[in-house]
């Protein structure tokens, strides 16, 4: 029986995948064709979504972007046997955007039924956990350390070292907390994994539990992702039923179980200590460090807090070995990173690649330039707290240290492209305004500084003492950067100062800017 694959992640749904699936089902019924529809995650080629794939004797063949009105003609073109159609894309693996990737963490995403454990196993799933249950906790920690994996949430802290701290911490009760509060604009890698391959996250968390002696895991998942919540919950239920989770993980002596906790719309809860407070049922206020969460985290117990992608990268490291993973990348940035290309870009989507590609390659060659067809003016890398880079810095390689050296950050590897209609003063103002709205209020530089920042930028925009106010905003950013308790206040200066530094024309009095055009 022919199998038709239609995505159902929220990105594809937002582009009409549900209507396409219904149209396909209706045509199958009307034409009395016996075929199976499997709903998958997304491969991450969003300009081609909804992308429909058919299993043929030559492997899968893709069509996209499919509109409901295309469906009847697809059947007429015999797409079930791979027939030619205006929307033919050929073999998905041959589409350059996919062919150029190195899919380690996202190997299965968009290919399998997300909640079928059989599919997951058939595509190499659980191999890492099977190895882990036969290893000592320290051997697992050692493997993760040797892989060079660093926290993919943005901070880039070595995952193995964090795990070692929790492993060594005394205590009967320990926790694995997965930070799935993916609030940064331009990022959707966590969402795609949770909606497209949730078992890989479950597997990674179970491995983390075995390595550190934790037997309870929480996924703190933002409320803006209801589809991810539903898919994760369904997958956890399946994993529990199959003995992947429970009192004996894969029949071993290790107990590990987990649950999803839904956030409540606070951006700052992506910061690990405010996330822990939120999980405890408190206001999501940032905690001072030390103590480190690794020693005194959730409910005061030793806690691993890792990003979704960090944890989802662990199974393949255990399966293929530390060296296999470490072989990818450059400098101290090892392995692959799922780059999310977003905003005003022609080919937006998820591109997993080894560290080291330049920003220019990613935007121009992979992304294909802007969607509007106008020149790229700026790209913001790393979410609302990331720097705006001009074209002049497009030779920067995607690497933690290389970005830091240019006063930027990779963050969660989201890139938002802006064309030349962007006004960088407005973008800088938005950064301050966002910080003011989302500040937890605990520290003064963030709570007050962000509001003063908005006011000062407004004065610059109005042409009031621009020189004095630019000096003032620079001084304010310095205070926020070094005086804030967490990255919200501490990193808001990145978008603000990078906008001022790289796009000074946008900060001159408005009349002059108009006259210059």
């Amino acid at each position: 029986m022919t199998t038709i694959y239609i995505p159902r992640d929220s990105g594809s749904l937002a582009l009409g995948a549900e209507k396409v699936a219904k149209a396909v089902a209706a045509e199958l019924a009307a034409r009395r064709i016996d075929a199976k529809i499997v709903r998958t995650g997304s491969r991450g080629l969003y300009w081609l979504e909804p992308m429909v794939e058919v299993e043929t004797s030559n492997g899968r063949v893709a069509y996209g972007p499919v509109r409901p009105s295309d469906v009847a003609s697809l059947f007429d073109a015999n797409f079930l046997a791979g027939g030619e159609h205006a929307k033919s894309l050929g073999r998905p693996e041959d589409i350059p955007f996919l062919a150029k990737q190195t899919r380690l963490t996202f190997a299965r995403c968009g290919i399998i039924d997300p909640v079928s454990l059989d599919d997951y196993r058939a595509h190499g799933g659980l191999a890492g956990l099977e190895k882990a249950v036969a290893m000592t906790p320290l051997e697992i920690v050692q493997t993760v350390t040797e892989s060079g994996l660093r926290g993919r949430g943005g901070a880039g802290f070595p995952t193995g070292i964090k795990w070692k701290t929790v492993h060594d911490a005394p205590g009967e009760r320990k926790y694995i907390v997965c930070n799935a509060d993916e609030g940064d604009s331009g990022t959707f890698a966590d969402r795609m994994i949770m909606e497209g391959d949730p078992f890989v996250l479950i597997e990674g968390m179970a491995i983390a539990g075995i390595a550190t002696g934790a037997n309870k895991g929480y996924i703190y998942l933002r409320s803006e992702y209801p589809h991810a919540v539903a898919t994760m919950n369904a997958a956890i239920e399946v994993a529990r039923g199959a003995g992947v989770l429970g009192s004996g993980v894969l029949g071993s002596a290790h107990a590990f179980d987990m649950e999803v906790r839904v956030g409540a719309g606070a951006y700052v809860c992506g910061e690990e200590t405010s996330l822990l407070n939120s999980l405890e049922g408190k206001r999501g206020v940032v905690r001072a460090k030390p103590p480190l969460p690794a020693l005194q985290g959730l409910f005061g117990k030793p806690t691993v807090v890792n990003n979704v992608i960090s944890l989802a990268s662990v199974p393949i490291i255990l399966d293929k070995g530390a060296a296999h993973y470490k072989d990818f990348g450059m400098g101290r940035s090892r392995g692959t990173i799922p780059i999310q290309i977003a905003g005003n870009v022609r080919h937006g989507g998820l591109f997993e690649a080894a560290f080291g590609m330049t920003l220019g390659e990613i935007i121009d060659e992979i992304g294909g330039g802007t969607a509007s067809g106008r020149p790229v003016k700026a790209v913001q890398v790393g979410g609302p707290l990331g720097a705006y880079f001009p074209r002049a810095l497009f030779d920067t390689p995607f690497d933690y240290e290389a970005f830091a050296a240019r006063d930027g950050l990779i963050g969660h590897a989201g890139i938002v492209v802006f064309d030349d209609s962007a006004d960088m003063l407005s973008q800088a103002r938005f950064a301050m305004e966002f910080c003011a709205v989302e500040s937890c209020g605990k520290c003064t530089p963030c709570r007050i500084g962000s509001t003063r920042g908005v006011e000062t930028l407004d004065r610059i925009g109005a042409g009031i003492e621009p020189e004095t106010n630019l000096a003032l905003i620079s001084d304010l950013c310095n205070t926020m950067k070094f005086g804030s308790l967490c990255a919200l206040g501490g990193f808001t200066p990145y978008p603000v100062m990078s906008a001022i530094t790289h796009f000074p024309d946008d900060f001159r009095p408005r009349e002059v800017a108009v006259a210059a055009e």
């Binding site: 929220s10 990105g11 959707f188 956030g263 409540a264 719309g265 049922g281 408190k282 005003n344 913001q380």
Partner: protein, 159 residues
């Protein structure tokens, strides 16, 4: 305007929701989500019931409810439109669409229309950044918004 529930009825239904979640570690957020699912907002009358059950102060419950953007203190409109206002959507003309939607609905963000038909809320990222601008209308995600689609949404929710 919808009639608010009698306080005794709220207390009884709140107690049932608390009972469902009380076995959890850190049950307050799940309880508040449960209450908002039940009533469409977090009624003031529910707060002392929660405080009492969890053995925390009214002030602590109030503090948590007011910290998080999701918890509404008043019932929402029959339709809820969440429009993403974050950078990726800005880069695709999201600000202009936001202004258009405000004008079409005759309300600003965080407001509910006088006839109770629609509540307009900002979202800071729906994770649909590769198909921006995006929105969520009554839980349904919509990508690649344009002026025409915004007009459609405004018509649908005001019908």
């Amino acid at each position: 305007m919808r009639m608010q529930q009698a306080s005794t009825q709220i207390a009884a239904r709140t107690a049932a929701i608390i009972a469902e979640h009380q076995g959890l570690e850190g049950p307050l957020l799940p309880i508040l989500h449960g209450i908002q699912d039940e009533f469409g907002y977090v009624p003031q009358d529910a707060l002392p019931v929660i405080a009492d059950a969890l053995n925390i102060s009214n002030a602590e419950v109030h503090g948590v409810v007011t910290f998080y953007h999701d918890y509404r203190r008043e019932p929402a409109g029959r339709h809820v439109v969440k429009l993403c206002r974050a950078e990726a959507c800005q880069s695709m003309g999201g600000d202009a669409l936001a202004a258009k939607l405000e004008a079409l609905l005759g309300i600003g963000f965080h407001e509910t229309s006088a006839d109770g038909a629609v509540t307009l809320e900002p979202a800071y990222c729906l994770g649909l950044c590769a198909c921006a601008p995006s929105a969520m209308v009554d839980g349904e995600v919509i990508g690649r918004l344009d002026a025409e689609r915004i007009e459609e949404i405004a018509r649908e929710v005001r019908a």
